[in-house]
Symmetry: C2
Subunit: 211 residues, 2 copies
DNA sequence: GGCACTTCTTGACAGTCGTCAAGACTTTCT
DNA sequence: AGAAAGTCTTGACGACTGTCAAGAAGTGCC
């Protein structure tokens, strides 16, 4: 338990805390890479350490146990993930532009970060079995729901007609589209990217028009 | 390798094959119970055997290895799952009746078989990491898509307007709704059941009307 | 340089895992 | 009845897991 910094010298203490936090983040990055490659079930601490430049013992110096490490990873994932689409909402000048920008961004995410997202779905599923990550997973899920809702409500405003679904339903529908596209993309199904883009545009239109 | 039945006596051979297949199914049922309780990552062969009336060694008498056992389980799950909603399609006399019957059945499934469905999502996710179950998972996923499409297309016919989405998109959307409801239901969120029912009805309506 | 403290490596621990082989028990056939 | 085939248990194996403690290596301060 050397995480508690010794002495009373403020500057040094702060610097050490920063170094400590930095290394935690660095190790979490290695862990995330490993997890996204192997999945939760097949990822061991030794494998994570091997994907970093340290030995396996160091993980217990920076994290109490495996649960704390993975929880920290999940939080780090969230920080990078949630704000990703907000720029689109801000810069889009028309409904059409927002729709196209959003759909393109979704397809881009699928192409670039597929392995990271399969990890997200893996961990969200673990929360269905295990209590440990549940709170963090639910918090991330809520953030994603809000992110989707910022898109939908802004699109509704630009389109001039009210959104015709709750935030929760809207999130569930887009999430379903994305997850299906992820499965198809990772199993070599051609057209997953363009199908997702088309599906997202279609869904966004339908979510702001009365039946 | 005593699965190959000796001699050339047809009746006996057939009876032994049946017994063999029966025990396989019985063990697979124990495995499914265990998997749905613990999830893929935490289920061991010894735990499965302990949830049956046999010892752990017998699993290797009936299944070559763990992969074959779980693959067999996935197949067994499918057989029971896919035809579940077809009765509704057959008996529904009006669009309204079909819509309500389908939504009620979805909510019922969520309430009764939540643990089984979290296992399905767990295994589908494993297919994103591992080659082994991929083919079976994709086959089941396609069956589910077709099942959903039978509902949607029949509803469209009864409602008198064509379905406004592809089978794949329709499946993705309903799957998204169900998965969100599952997460909420299993994490103690009240209203998951009724929200799902309402969401399903709303989505079904929207899928057969022009934008 | 010597000292206090942090950081990291190494090696071990108790436990679990999938797998398999030897043999006991049961059923079936002759 | 005895022989043969099928079924199941037991115990072991090597490999792997999370965890931890002892101590080496590195860092900064006097």
């Amino acid at each position: 338990m050397t995480q508690v910094v010794g002495k009373n010298q403020e500057r040094i203490s702060r610097r050490q805390v920063d170094k400590f936090a930095e290394r935690r983040a660095q190790l979490a990055a290695s862990a995330l890479r490993t997890l996204s490659e192997l999945g939760y079930a097949r990822t061991s601490l030794r494998e994570i350490a091997q994907n970093s430049e340290f030995s396996h013992g160091v993980l217990h110096y920076y994290f109490r146990d495996k649960v704390e490490l993975i929880t920290y990873c999940v939080r780090q994932y969230k920080a990078e993930c949630v704000t990703r689409y907000d720029q689109i909402v801000i810069t889009a000048g028309s409904a059409e532009e927002l729709k196209h920008g959003f759909a393109t961004a979704m397809a881009g995410t699928l192409r670039e970060d597929a392995t990271m997202h399969r990890l997200w779905y893996d961990l969200r599923n673990q929360a269905l079995f295990e209590e440990s990550f549940r709170d963090d997973v639910l918090e991330i899920d809520q953030s994603l729901e809000q992110m989707i809702w910022r898109i939908v409500s802004q699109y509704a405003e630009l389109a001039g007609s009210p959104a015709a679904a709750s935030p929760a339903v809207a999130y569930a529908l887009f999430d379903g589209l994305f997850q299906q596209a992820l499965l198809r993309h990772l199993t070599g199904h051609d057209g997953a990217l363009s199908d997702l883009q088309a599906g997202v545009e279609q869904l966004l239109e339908r979510l702001v028009t009365y039946a």
